[in-house]
Every structure is written in C-alpha cells, then in structure tokens.
C-alpha cells in the first residue's frame, strides 16, 4: 500500500518550535517520511510538543530549521500561493476548535461554501451526506457550546473531511471520548485509511497523535514516539508493543508488575 519513494510528507533534520513561542524548541532533528496511504500513530505524553509537531506537519507553523517537503516540494508554510496544497490536508484540533458562533452544520459547510463560493442551500446536500456519515444529523442545528466533547470532536472530523483531503492530521482524536465514541472513531479512521466509499474510495493518509496507545492496535498502522525532544520511529504495533522503552509502556498502560520498578 505504501510508496516510500514518493513520500507525501518528508522531514529532514527539522527543528520544531512551540506554536506560541517558536524560539522554544520542542523537537530537534526530526527525520521522517510519510508514504501515501500510511496510517501513523504518534505516541506522546501531554506537553511533549505533539500539537506543535502536528501543526508543523500540517504546514500551519513553519519549522524553525531543516527541510520540510510536501509532495516533494520544499515548503515552510502553506501561504496563499499554496492554497491547493493546503486543501489536500485536513486537520482536526484536539478541542476541535469549532467556530462557536456557527451551528454544527454551518461549521461543516463553511470550507465548502467559502472555497466553492456557494450559498448555504447549494452546499446543503453535500453537508447532509457528511452529517449522515458521521451521525451528526440530530445535532446539526446545535451550536458547539451546547454539545458534549465527544460530539464536538466528531463535528471537527466532519469539517476536516468536507473538502475530501488526501491527508488527515488529527491531534489526540480519542482523548477524553466515551468508550462507544472511541470504538466509532477507530473503525471510521480505519475505513478512511482503506478508502471510504462515501468519500470516493481513495485511501487516505492519516497521522494521529495520542497520549494513549491502547486503542490504536492495528496491523496497518505505524507508530512513533515523541520523547526528550526527539522523534523516534517504532515500526508496527508488534514492534512497538515489544519495545522496552518505559514511555511506550506508560502509553500502553502496561500493568505495573511488567514494568521495571525504578531503583
């Protein structure tokens, strides 16, 4: 499935700064290549720089140093001239960052109406399809302030999918979700990764960060770790699960008796 010779995202010696203070380095010398259709899960404890890492990966924040390539083209950030590239990437924020003055349906419709210059009624059919797909129809007319976290996150997913991106970057998508929502997300992201029929059937490249690796068990996923300002590639689930790294065991919530006790 993956094509390592033509990565969609490539980082060479990339230095990543904090979003609010780029002078503060969060990660150093990141070397990473993401092939089309790959499903990456990045394990990282809170405050380890996973949001900063994902925002740089998504071209929202320029790297402090190093070479970042998107579909083979070196870039720093997706500015106006790279709008077409920008729209190939969907981004889901940890808190979804829905626009608080818009309803769920309006939030989802916004990128479509803005980029295609449509009246809300003209985009309604496409929006309704996505609402159906993500089971958001009953709350389509509710504003985010009146929704529980699980549904807000799902609306963030639907908004990111509105323009059918090739790559989906998700910041801790399962964090704080109820169990049934975790199950729904894991299944849905897998379908997207294989190519969801309702979205054209094209396999989607997925990059997700998490502070809990347990729900991400899956044969087609690749794992990496953010630790001590470094980006460490761990390989498949089995390779990752057999790692002796204490942080991996923490993120897998391995029972205490199997973790070496600190001396």
């Amino acid at each position: 499935m993956s094509d390592n010779s033509n990565p969609v995202i490539e980082m060479r010696d990339v230095v990543i700064g904090a979003v609010n203070d780029p002078a503060f380095v969060m990660l150093e010398k990141v070397n990473w290549a993401v092939a089309p259709g790959e499903f990456w899960v990045i394990g990282a404890p809170p405050y380890s720089g996973k949001s900063d890492f994902l925002m740089t990966t998504a071209g929202l924040v320029p790297p402090v140093d190093g070479c970042y390539k998107f579909y083979g083209n070196e870039t720093r950030i997706f500015d106006e001239s790279r709008l077409a590239d920008r729209l190939r990437m969907g981004f889901i924020f940890e808190n979804a960052s829905l626009f608080h003055h818009l309803t769920v349906a309006e939030n989802i419709a916004l990128p479509l109406c803005y980029h295609k210059n449509l009246e809300p009624a003209e985009g309604a059919k496409l929006v309704a399809g996505l609402l159906e797909l993500t089971e958001l129809k009953p709350i389509a007319e509710v504003t985010p302030a009146n929704l529980p976290r699980s549904w807000i996150k799902r609306a963030g997913l639907a908004r990111a999918l509105m323009l059918q991106p090739d790559i989906l970057v998700a910041d801790n998508p399962l964090g704080g979700l109820e169990a049934r929502h975790v199950y729904w997300w894991a299944r849905f992201l897998d379908e997207l990764s294989r190519g969801h029929k309702a979205l054209g059937g094209k396999p989607m490249t997925i990059i997700a960060a998490t502070d809990d690796l347990r729900p991400w068990r899956g044969a087609n996923r690749r794992f990496a770790l953010l630790k001590d300002k470094s980006f460490i590639q761990l390989g498949s689930w089995d390779e990752m699960a057999s790692s002796s790294d204490p942080l991996v065991k923490e993120l897998l919530a391995t029972p205490a008796e199997t973790v070496d006790a600190p001396r």
Partner: protein, 251 residues
Amino acid sequence: MFLITVQGLAAFALITLAVILKKFNVAPHVIHPMIRREISRAGIQLLPMFLFVAFMLGFLVIGQTVSVAARFGAIDYIGTVMVTVVMRELGPLLAAVLILARVGTANVIELGTARALNEVEALESLGIDPVHYLIVPRVIGITLGVFSLTIYLVLAALVSGYLFVFLQNVPLNPGDYFKELADSMNWLDFALLALKSCAFGFFIGIVTCYHGLAQPLRLQEVSRVTVRAIAQGIIACIFIDAIFIVLYLHL
C-alpha cells in the same frame, strides 16, 4: 512598547486594507452576508440609542448656548454654535466613542476568545484567510456604522436643538434657525465630516480587531486586552480628531 504597538497597528491596518481591496469578491456568498450583519450590528441596531443621545446632545448644547448667548444678546449665533460644536466636534467624536463602547468591546472579546480557542488556526487549516473572514466584515461594518450614525446623530441633534429653543421661548423662528445653520456650513464641513467619521470607524475596527486577533492569547488575557484596546481606541479617535482640527484650520 508604544512604538511597537503603533508599528503593529499600522501594519495591521495596511494588511486589512490590502485584503479588502484584493479579496472583495472572494467567497461573496459567505463574506457579504457577514458584512451586512456587521453593518446591522454597528449601525441599524444602535439607531434608537443614537437618536436618544442626539436629542439629549441638542438640548444640552443649545441649553448652554442660550443661557450664555442671552446674556450677551448673541442669540443669532445659536446656529453657528450648533454647527461648530455638534457637526464638527461633538457629533463625530460621540458617535465614535459610543460605537467603540458598544461594538468595539464586543469585537475584542469575540476575537480574543476565538484566538484563545484556536479558531484562527482552524480557519488557516481550512485555507480561509482569518483577516478576510474575521476582520474585513467587522472593519467595514464599523466604518459604515460610525459614518451613518454620525450623520443621524448630527441631524437629530440639530433638530432637537431647535426644539429646545422653541420650548425656552427664544425669539428665533425655524426659518431663521435653519438658515443660520445652512449659512454656517460649507462643503468642507461635509467632506471632513465624512472623512473624519470614516477614519474614526476604520481605526476603531483596526484597534479592536488587532488586540483581539493579532497576537496569541489565553482566555484569561482577554479582559486585559479588551481594556487596552478600548483605551487605545479612545486615544486613536482623539488623535485623529486633532489631525482634523489642524486640517480645518488650514483649509
């Protein structure tokens, strides 16, 4: 610090102007309804309050003028005083300060909250220019709001001024009063009134949007930047007013 703020505001104003000109026809189905909403918020919805303030202003200025002018037998100058005080100075400044308080404050809080909740980054992730989506409708709305409400305020104050004259039994008939007003005005008053009110509106929009949006914020910082934005908005209006007084004196 002062210079950095001025530099930041100037850059923000230029960027906003450039986006208004360059993207006026980008996504009109999304942006133009937002502009109409902002015009309604900064203009139409404030009209009843402005008419009330205008009537009070007319009573106030004429009341003071009548009591002073009657002592010197200078009742004939009431119209001139109204034009000078209400049309050139108090009207535009009062309209600007009222809109700063009612709409500018809401602007900083809304944008500051949006900034703190990552909504600006969310717009960027969707390929939507935050200046185009969040700033342009507000700046255009406030500019047109200040401009039109200033005109309503001045007109209503001039009319209410005569009401006060009438109620006080001052020997001045309506024809003479309005003739005096007309004689005291010239084309420069109209041109500078339009320019001044538009400048007030534009800079109120810029100052409030800049403080709400231009820098990364945390939720607890929103109240602090709101106070700063309103203070700087008042200073900006007074500074613009001073520039226009110099213009009046030299043209």
